[in-house]
């Protein structure tokens, strides 16, 4: 029978403990790094200083107008694609399209006055903008629906941009570049979409 000296055993035990401790530290470090990296991928990116969330930051009236404006934006893009020009706000009213349609929804949400403030030229591009201002409700914002430039013959897809101004009587901006809008007090509304919720629930899709 071999007898191992106590001093030698202690030496091996210390070495073994050290190895196990290093391995455990590596596992913990890996797990923390993995969890941190993964947490970065879930949910929408954080808002920038000049952005507001449609879900978290808008009041009920602003939220209702924003929800309607997103769909209207898509439809206006289709109308432009089909007919080549930009529909005027009285045409959108006649097409029953909220928030331009002057119905009970429109009255309940402050009877906002909408104007087509700039229309991109089909050949030379540029931005198109609809301004909604003069709403009658306390705390209500002014809205700006922008269609960023697109290439001739292409349909609008994700060039629709919605901004709000805390001054409900804000004037039409002289320039629709993002920097100019921010310096004039406009804030870009970031919609909390189904895609964002899906990313939060299940991780990024596709």
């Amino acid at each position: 029978m071999t007898v191992i000296a106590i001093a030698s055993a202690r030496k091996y035990q210390r070495l073994e403990t050290l190895v196990v401790a290093v391995l455990a530290a590596c596992v913990v470090a890996f797990a923390v790094t993995w969890a941190f990296t993964r947490s970065q991928q879930i949910g929408p990116p954080p808002l920038l200083d000049w952005q507001v969330s449609s879900l978290a930051d808008l009041g009920e009236d602003d939220q209702a107008i924003h929800s309607a404006l997103i769909v209207a934006g898509e439809e206006i893009g289709y109308l432009n694609y089909d007919f080549g020009d930009w529909p005027k706000t009285d045409e959108l009213d006649a097409l029953l399209m909220p928030p331009f349609y002057k119905d009970e929804f429109w009255k309940l949400h402050g009877a906002v006055k909408w104007d087509l403030i700039r229309a991109a030229d089909y050949n030379h591009g540029g931005d198109t903008g609809y301004l909604g201002a003069g709403g009658a409700l306390p705390g209500q914002s002014a809205f700006l629906l922008l269609f960023r430039h697109r290439h001739v013959g292409a349909a609008y897809a994700n060039q629709i941009d919605i901004w709000i101004h805390r001054n409900v009587n804000a004037n039409a901006p002289a320039d629709t570049k993002a920097e100019s809008l921010v310096s004039a007090g406009w804030r870009q509304v970031v919609a909390y979409s189904g895609a964002d919720e899906l990313a939060r629930l299940k991780g990024k899709q596709e």
Partner: protein, 304 residues
């Protein structure tokens, strides 16, 4: 202006007639795109977008409640045959992900998330000030239109040769949905009803009410499938009295006698709305049941 509006109306009429004819035609050939759906509104949306260019397959039976549904073998077999699948994905059809997994289609079945581009809103009347996302985007008009556009766009990517048809059909269907809403808004002077305060049995109608300018003062069952305790119910009745709620909207397909209890306790008038998640899957179901919901809203506002 009038030319554009007339052109849109004319095209809607012609395509509407064409769609109506296709619904009565024999079953479509197997070679056509097979598009699966999880919920009844998505069946209607897809049917009106694709016409006779695709076959629509409801993955689960029409009579079951999608809340907490447990998939069966037939559901899995159906999922194996699909070319694309339209889902809610944000809390209303969680069963489908088990079906996809079990059918071995997790990596090769294109999913169309109907809500991908919908701006979500919080559950109304939720306690504690927290803004919790409401997944009932399909009980709506404007948000429904956004889903129709999203589905049409994605189907067009999957089936490019019919992309233009899907887009145009989607727009014509959207026009009909918008007309439903406009008919109500022309009939009812909501703004004159300052004393009209609403509670709902279930947080399913926030999109619909937002689009019609109504506000929810209280929700009795603020989470899916979670019945309130006796204490919560007593508190809700107290809240309803305090908020001077005059009308309670109950759920058509949800059992129990909660609505009657609240009516007895508080004296509010009770009306029933459709959740559009029960019965046969049909192309007209969404419009039919939304029309009923809108008529119910009108009766509630008129105090009938």
């Amino acid at each position: 202006m009038s030319i554009r509006i007339t052109a849109l109306s004319l095209r809607a009429a012609v395509l509407g007639l064409a769609l109506a004819l296709t619904w009565f035609s024999p079953a479509v050939a197997q070679s056509k795109l097979r598009v699966g759906v999880t919920l009844h509104p998505y069946y209607s949306f897809v049917a009106n977008i694709v016409g006779d260019k695709a076959e629509i397959v409801s993955v689960i039976p029409g009579e079951v409640n999608p809340h907490g549904y447990e998939p069966g073998a037939e559901d899995i077999k159906r999922a194996m045959t699909l070319d694309a699948l339209v889902v809610n994905g944000i809390g209303h059809d969680e069963f489908i992900f088990k079906i996809i997994e079990a059918s071995g289609r997790k990596d090769n079945l294109p999913l169309i998330y109907a809500n991908a581009s919908v701006a979500l809103i919080p559950i109304g009347g939720d306690r504690g000030g927290a803004r919790i996302v409401n997944p009932h985007t399909f009980i709506s008009t404007t948000a429904a239109i956004q889903q129709v556009y999203e589905i049409a766009r994605r189907l067009g990517e999957i089936d490019p040769k019919n992309a233009t048809l899907y887009r145009n059909n989607g727009r014509d269907y959207a026009t009909r949905i918008r007309r439903l809403r406009a008919d109500f808004m022309q009939r009812i002077a909501v703004h004159a009803k300052d004393d009209f305060r609403v509670a709902t049995m279930h947080a399913g109608y926030d999109y619909l009410f937002q689009e019609f300018g109504l506000r929810v003062s209280a929700v009795i069952e603020p989470r899916h499938g979670v019945s309130p305790t006796a204490r919560q119910l007593a508190q809700t009745s107290e809240d309803i009295r305090a908020a001077k709620v005059t009308v309670l909207f109950a759920e058509q397909y949800f059992g129990g006698n909660l609505a009657e209890t609240v009516q007895r306790e508080t004296g509010v008038r009770v009306y029933t709305l459709s959740h559009i998640t029960d019965g046969p899957f049909t192309a007209s179901k969404f419009e039919d049941e939304m029309r009923e919901n809108i008529q119910t809203l009108a009766r509630a506002l008129e105090g009938q």
